[in-house]
Amino acid sequence: MNAERRSFLLVGGAIVSALLLVGVYLAAGGASYTPEKTQDPCKHRAWRNPEGLQQIAEQFTLSALDGAACRLGVSRETLAQALATPEARERFKERYHISDAKLARAVRAGLLRAVDDAEEAGALSPFLAGPLRETLRSVPLDQAIELINNAESLLNNVEGFLGPAQELLEGFLP
């Protein structure tokens, strides 16, 4: 084999190898190997057949996080991390330039959306949902965050939370 042919084969082989490698990696999903996209918190997410208090509490929490995150213009996941500790909350407020009042309004809005969603899913009686909404509209920020983080205790102890109306409301939880 002469020198010119060997040169041609070397360059040709290099081009084919390079294209083959790039082609195989592309076909194997190389261009799409990215983190999954998180969903828009403002879009309605149907509840997944909640059965029992624990599942209702979970769906309630997720709806509340969606509602608050939508109001603040962040993802549900970012807000979940932000509400972990007082320090995380402070970092979150600083990063997104959010005041206590704005955060409180957003968290209350999230809780109200959770009540709406629970009612729509048939997980919360309309008789209980109405007074619960009224109470949640004025709940302080720390307590509102605690309610998101531990919705099970809210729903388990809704009578205590609503105060004097408890006797009227007993039996309305499914």
Partner: protein, 457 residues
Amino acid sequence: MSAEAPRPRVAALALAVGLVLADSSIVVLALPDIYRQLDTSVAGVSWVLVSFNLVMALAAVPAAHLARRVGPGRAAAVGLAIFAGAGLACAVSDQLSTLIAARCVQAIGGALAVTAVLELLPATVGSERRAAALWATAGATGAALGPAVGGLLTELVSWQSIFLIQVPIALAAAVPILAVARHEVATGVLSTELRRTGRPHLLANLALALVSAAIAGALFLLVLLLIEGWRLSPIGAAIVVSVMPLAALLGSRLDRLVPSARARAAAGAVLVSGGLGGLALLPKAEVALTVPPQVMIGIGLALVLSALTETALSGRAPQAIHGGWTISARHAGVVIGILAVTPIFTHDIAQQRHDAINAGTAVILDSKAPPLLKLNLAQKIESRLEDEKGKVPTIGPAFEPLPTDPEEHDQVVELREELQDQLNRGATHAFSPSFGLAALIGLLSLIPIGLARRVEL
């Protein structure tokens, strides 16, 4: 002189070149350790690498002129002594600024030694062509072996040991060269004739700079991906990146089969770019998937570096000056490569880390684990992020202690794996644009290589 040239002297000259040029890449695997120990930023620590290459690029040609003026034996011996002394200063540095300053001095000594050696080699091995080939091979071997050796030393001893071990090696290489220096002093005669310097090979040196930028980007990014992105230990990363020098050995054998330097340069540039393209499109965070691209880059770098160095030196005199130009071009390329890719990937890694954490948290929130458990997990991740201060976090501790209930235990382990997968996706994807840019720079080197077909260099 070649008939009497002792083998130790040839070995010492090759060792000096390999040692100095290994230094352009030897700290690559130590950068994450230096980054943590000296508490700096990714951009800051990259200057440990950049400063050495920048000063080499600036000092190589003046150093070659100096070597010819004072005598290459003396210049090589003094250069190696400076290199060793500055290496010691690097090892005892406890601040980034002093480490970078010592690296600059090390580069000045290295530039003097490497260019002087090229002036000494023809008389030692018998011909300028053999001298150029030995010089280029020693340099390419050193540069290719550097990261693996640096990684092993970092893991087994410390990053400081990389510099400490260079001190006795540089001094050992200087001993046989001292005989030449003594001869120069005794006779007052320089071993080489002072000839008029011809102009450098512009296109070959330009191509060298571009392809070196691509290769530097490949090494720098791959090491950071393995250690910072996929959390490999330095020794693990050293084993992985040793694929490149092994493949380079294979590539150097092709030199003899294809005499055309242009064909070898073009094929090498295509292989380097193709390999980088593969790294930009990794379909999973698996070490095995980096092997085919590394093999291509290794073979490619052996072909293209030797072909372009040979072209740049062919028929040019004096060799030391033109060798200085190739050193200058290669190290300028390394600087350009690192400076071009660093801002892109530091920006991308911050964004991808954020996206990956959110995606992982979404996986947890949407999982079937008990609500309080998963909310607690999602929130513990926030604490891990804070602990790791902006780096890609090791997520395992967020899941400790694992639940004792077998069902919950399995759910948590599954969640941990899903979250780690999201983080790996984020880290891998963050490096893609930078690998892509390095591939593009490698392809650009085909322009001067192609032009060289028509233009007399």
